[in-house]
């Protein structure tokens, strides 16, 4: 059986493999690594853990708890709608509950669940020992947890958001949503999104630079391709939401009228920015699930995936096309038919790459011999559900039909088909597939299969009839329908089966619980899989591999590979230097480049996210002065974070295999940190582009009242602007230097620009509350100011490294990150200046 899964890859020159390391005894090797990689003991150990296994599982477990909470909220909704005059909830509470149901499922279940899966699985599958930035993983988790807790607490106290999960303005503006309900959403979700950006950055870097030596980009497991697509989309897709949330929070807190039509703002700007995030979001959720399917289906069918290249191309197509669909959520806002047609065509076209994948999966099943294990049940559930959801999705992409179906129960049905079909069923397949690796135990038979059937019947019973409910005219988000007896039986059916589905999910939870408590020991590599995630003992140890897999370990039965790796055959065996280490490889061919030393257990991520949490809470309580002061500890902790990267002790090149010696990452030309900063700057650029889009949209499309005449003192603005531009050009040049004096001058240049901004421009800006134009100018000045401040900090950090003697001929310290940041800051500053000049000329 294994011969089909283990056939060598297509004929081609195998890259030179690393030599074998001498065999060692497995147990001592294991113990040595465990000593270095283990979490601290007890509860404190949970707080200080930076392990991808611990945190990935915790992400997923927390997400499942939120899934249960969101599910309970859904049951409250269904209880209310079971009868036309439901008096179960009052309208205010009902609005909070459906808003929280959507927000929890999207932001606190689906996204963290896929992040958790990626964080937990990718290092195992790629053959490395941890994610690129372990402390960032932990920071992301705590931000997620604290943001989620803020939202839940608000629900308990009856002040949860109540404007629908997409928070349309002006309903969510302070005039129509007084109180902190909307602020809870804006601040809570943005807080949680820190974890999304963090995860996206490190997933990108991990996939591109930590693959096992010889695992070429063009040959890596499909799951990695899917996650690479997902993380790229998150880097570009989340910033518009963050930008929109910040702008709306500024409007609510300080009355800056970005979305107020009476003062030059536009409610549609919110919709554009929200859906610019919101539609890619759907594919961000679907892609990891599809990646799990592409991994599991061939294993369940004892074959290899059919059409590897076509699937990667489909992922590529989805990643891009999904950014050209967002307006299909806005077909009824009065956009001209030609523009609707572009987005309708793109929405239709995006079904093609999806179809390519679906048919490739079915073809894989034809090619192989499907075996009906439990994951396969859920995969069949996926096919049935997702195909229907995809087809209704195509229907909704057709403009005239959308005009009827938009905002009705039909859309509710469609999105549940897509999200439960395209995410929850594959996730259940993934959970049942990888559970032995988590627990080391085999499943207790029976409950899982029963749970599947109950969920499947409950799901389709709930949502199939809901299509008709919508076509019969029932809009979303209503709590009573006394005048429409024709909807009663439909809603009652949905409610009844909704409870059936809930029972099914409870049974699924019970199945997992039974596996953890009563399961017998699982045998190694229980599915006879060809991927590296199974080439380790069960349950997975904290360090994954005793020695790191290389080219000769790829694409072979995992059980064989495991024995070799456990005896130190692979690269970088054990932890002889008492450090957490893994290999960093080149992007394309995965040639070994250097060895990364990782930070160990630390409470710093917990402290930093707590201090961000304090800031968020102070803003929520409208104590803006204190909130500003709360940023000081945040900045200090970020500095400490950077200090933690300093090398500990003298740096010796490391022999990873006989005769192969690599430098440590401090001496590397292109470290993981630099790659991570580039990824972060991509996200930052997307944020900046979102604001520029807002500027263009409000200047060109919005037909609001003209802005009051600018009161700006032009000559003063001119010299301040010139000074900033000059200082930034100088800063770019200085950050290319390499001596303390350059760093000192760079600090001065950035400080001069900052002072010119604060003293020359900020005092003469027009009142930002007067008109959206002035508000946007103020917001852009704040963006530039923040970046200049960080650039000052980074130049100062380099100076500090010189003072401590940490920068030498070979170790370049923070020069490279500063240069990257300086270039970004200088360019965005200059672009801002040009954009504002252009807007002034156009107005």
């Amino acid at each position: 059986m294994t011969d089909t899964t283990a056939s060598p890859s297509e004929a081609q020159a195998a890259p030179a493999d690393l030599p074998r390391n001498p065999p060692q005894r497995a147990l001592p090797l294991n113990r040595e690594l465990a000593g270095v990689w283990a979490n601290d003991r007890g509860i404190w150990g949970q707080i200080t853990s930076v392990s991808h296994t611990t945190l990935g599982l915790r992400f997923m477990a927390t997400a499942l708890v939120f899934f249960a909470i969101g599910g309970i909220l859904a049951m409250l909704i269904r209880a209310q709608l079971a009868t036309p005059d439901g008096a179960f909830l009052d309208t205010e509470l009902y609005n909070q509950i459906f808003t929280m149901h959507g927000s929890i499922m999207m932001f606190l279940f689906a996204i963290p669940m896929l992040e958790g899966l990626g964080i937990w699985l990718l290092p195992k599958m790629l053959g490395t020992r941890d994610m690129a930035f372990p402390r960032l993983t932990a920071l992301g988790y705590w931000c997620y947890l604290f943001g989620g807790l803020i939202m839940l607490t608000a629900l308990l106290f009856g002040v949860a958001p109540r404007d629908g999960w997409f928070m349309y303005t002006p309903l969510s503006s302070s005039a129509y949503s007084p109180g902190i309900n909307a602020d809870v959403w804006l601040l809570g979700v943005t807080f949680v999104e820190i974890s999304a950006v963090a995860a996206a950055v490190e997933i990108t870097v991990t996939i591109l630079r930590q693959r096992a030596p010889g695992m070429k980009l063009t040959e890596m497991p499909l799951f990695a391709w899917y996650m690479l697509g997902t993380s790229a989309m998150m880097l570009v897709g989340f910033p518009p939401l963050i930008a929109a949330s910040v702008l709306l929070e500024l409007e609510r807190a300080f009355d800056w009228p970005f979305f107020d039509p009476l003062r030059g703002g536009d409610p549609l700007l919110w919709q554009h920015l929200f859906w610019l995030f919101g539609h890619p979001e759907v594919y961000i959720i679907f892609l990891p699930a599809a990646g799990a399917l592409s991994t599991i289906i061939p294993v369940m069918c004892r074959t290899r995936i059919l059409g590897y290249g076509a699937i990667v191309a489909a992922v590529l197509g989805l990643v891009f096309l999904s950014f050209g669909l967002w307006v299909h959520h806005m077909f009824t806002v009065g956009i001209p038919h030609m523009a609707l047609a572009f987005f309708s065509a793109a929405s239709v076209l995006v079904a093609v790459p999806t179809a390519v994948q679906v048919f490739a999966w079915i073809g894989t099943m034809w090619k192989g011999r499907p075996e009906l294990h439990l994951p396969m049940y859920h995969i069949l559930g996926f096919f049935l559900t997702f195909v229907l959801g995809g087809l209704t999705g195509v229907m909704l992409a057709i403009v005239p039909f959308n005009w009827q179906a938009h905002d009705t129960a039909f859309v509710t049905a469609h999105l549940h088909y897509v999200l439960i079909g395209g995410f929850v069923f594959p996730m259940m397949a993934a959970i049942t597939y990888w559970m032995p690796l988590v627990t080391g135990k085999a499943r207790v038979r029976g409950v899982g299969e029963a749970a599947f059937w109950v969920i499947l019947i409950g799901f389709h019973g709930t949502f199939f009839v809901m299509h008709l409910t919508g076509l019969l005219g029932m809009p979303r988000r209503i709590d009573v329908y006394p005048d429409n007896p024709e909807w009663i039986w439909l809603n009652l059916t949905s409610s009844f089966f909704g409870f059936v589905m809930t029972i099914g999910f409870a049974m699924f939870a019970l199945d997992m619980l039974l596996q953890v408590t009563l399961g017998t020991r699982a045998r190694r590599d229980p599915w006879r899989a060809p991927t590296l995630d199974w080439a380790m003992p069960l349950p997975a140890p904290s360090f994954n591999f005793s020695s790191l897999p290389t080219a000769r370990h790829l694409d072979r039965p995992a059980s064989e590979v495991m024995l070799e790796l456990a005896c130190g055959d692979g690269a970088l065996p054990g932890a002889p230097r008492g450090q957490r280490e893994f290999l960093v490889t080149s992007v394309g061919a995965a040639r070994p480049d250097h060895v990364a030393h990782l930070p160990g257990n630390t409470s710093l991520p917990f402290a930093l996210s707590s201090s961000i949490g304090v800031f968020v809470l102070l803003v929520l309580w409208q104590l803006y002065l204190l909130a500003g002061m709360a940023l000081v500890p945040v900045a200090v902790l970020i500095w400490v974070w950077g200090r933690g990267l300093a090398p500990r002790g003298p740096l010796q090149p490391i022999e990873i295999a006989p005769g192969v010696t690599l430098p440590v990452h401090h001496q590397a030309r292109q470290s993981l940190g630099q790659s991570g900063l580039v990824a972060f700057l991509v996200a930052n650029a997307a944020l900046f582009a979102s604001v520029l889009f807002g500027l263009a949209f409000l200047s060109v499309v919005t037909q609001g009242p003209a802005p009051p005449p600018a009161m700006i003192d032009t000559s003063r603005i001119a010299w301040a602007t010139g000074l900033i531009a000059g200082a930034q050009l100088l800063g770019m040049a200085l950050s290319r230097g390499g001596a303390p004096v350059w760093a000192a001058l760079g600090l001065c240049a950035n400080a001069v620009a900052l002072i010119a901004l604060l003293a020359g421009i900020v005092p003469v800006l027009d009142d930002p509350t007067a008109h959206a134009r002035d508000a946007l100018r103020a917001a852009m000045a704040a963006y530039v100011g923040l970046h200049l401040l960080v650039a000052c900090g980074m130049a100062a950090f380099v100076l500090d490294q010189y003072r401590r003697g940490e920068i030498t001929e070979q170790i370049r310290g923070a020069w490279a990150p500063w240069r990257l940041w300086q270039d970004f800051t200088s360019i965005t500053t200059l672009v801002t200046i040009l954009a504002l000049i252009a807007q002034k000329g156009g107005a």
Partner: protein, 222 residues
């Protein structure tokens, strides 16, 4: 008729109802309903096809051409179906758009939580009404939709699709009622506490403009 047969076979209670998009009462809504039945039929066939392929997978392993799956079915089959569908959708969309053809216009103004309508009276003076809109039957009517406060959405399912009422903008929606009568409408975009109750009616009149404002509610009812 088609609707009756289908619903009977599906053992559904029916496609009727005052807010049913499947019981159109004018050409705009009828074209969209037609589109729906066509898409439903196509979707049904495709679903059966895909599930059939899936069922056939449970057998002996067999040699199968990769390109047939990824290119034949995945790319060309889906692209063909989708091109056809997109074309149909765009043509229908073009046919039901408002045009500059001197159609009767009525203003619909949404607020939390209700509707006020402004018609052009017989003498050209504006005539207002709340909760009940008057239109001529048998000819195109353009509704100019505005909002007082938050975003609402104007929807009379049996006559046309919906169009949002957005503060700061005026949106235009064309609807046509085949015959005189009263048609139910509602706010489709969530707009706060009173959203569920934000209903209105549209009365289509045989003779237009009506001689007396406000027209008698019973007039023209079938």
């Amino acid at each position: 008729m088609r609707c009756r047969i289908l619903s009977a076979t599906l053992l559904l209670a029916g496609c009727g109802g005052p807010l049913s998009t499947l019981a159109p009462s004018g050409p705009v809504a009828a074209e969209i309903a037609w589109l729906w039945w066509a898409m439903l039929a196509g979707a049904g066939v495709i679903t059966l096809f895909v599930l059939g392929l899936l069922a056939l997978a449970f057998g002996r392993p067999r040699e199968t051409s990769t390109r047939r799956w990824t290119h034949g079915l995945g790319l060309w089959f889906s692209l063909g179906v989708l091109t056809l569908l997109l074309g149909a959708g765009l043509v229908v969309g073009e046919r039901i758009l408002p045009r500059d053809d001197g159609a009767v216009t009525v203003r619909a103004h949404a607020f939390q939580w209700g509707w006020s309508f402004t018609h052009e009276g017989a003498d050209g003076a504006p005539v207002e009404s709340a909760g009940l809109m008057h239109i001529p039957a048998g000819q195109p009517v353009d509704i100019l939709i505005t909002s007082e406060d938050v975003i609402h959405s104007f929807w009379v399912p049996r006559l046309a699709g919906k169009m949002d009422a957005i503060p700061g903008r005026t949106n235009r929606l064309r609807l046509i009622a085949d015959s005189p009568g009263v048609y139910a409408g509602l706010c489709a975009e969530f707009c706060g506490r009173g959203h569920a109750g934000m209903r209105f009616d549209v009365q289509a009149h045989a003779d237009w403009p009506p001689e007396n404002w406000p027209p008698e509610p019973e007039r023209g009812r079938q």
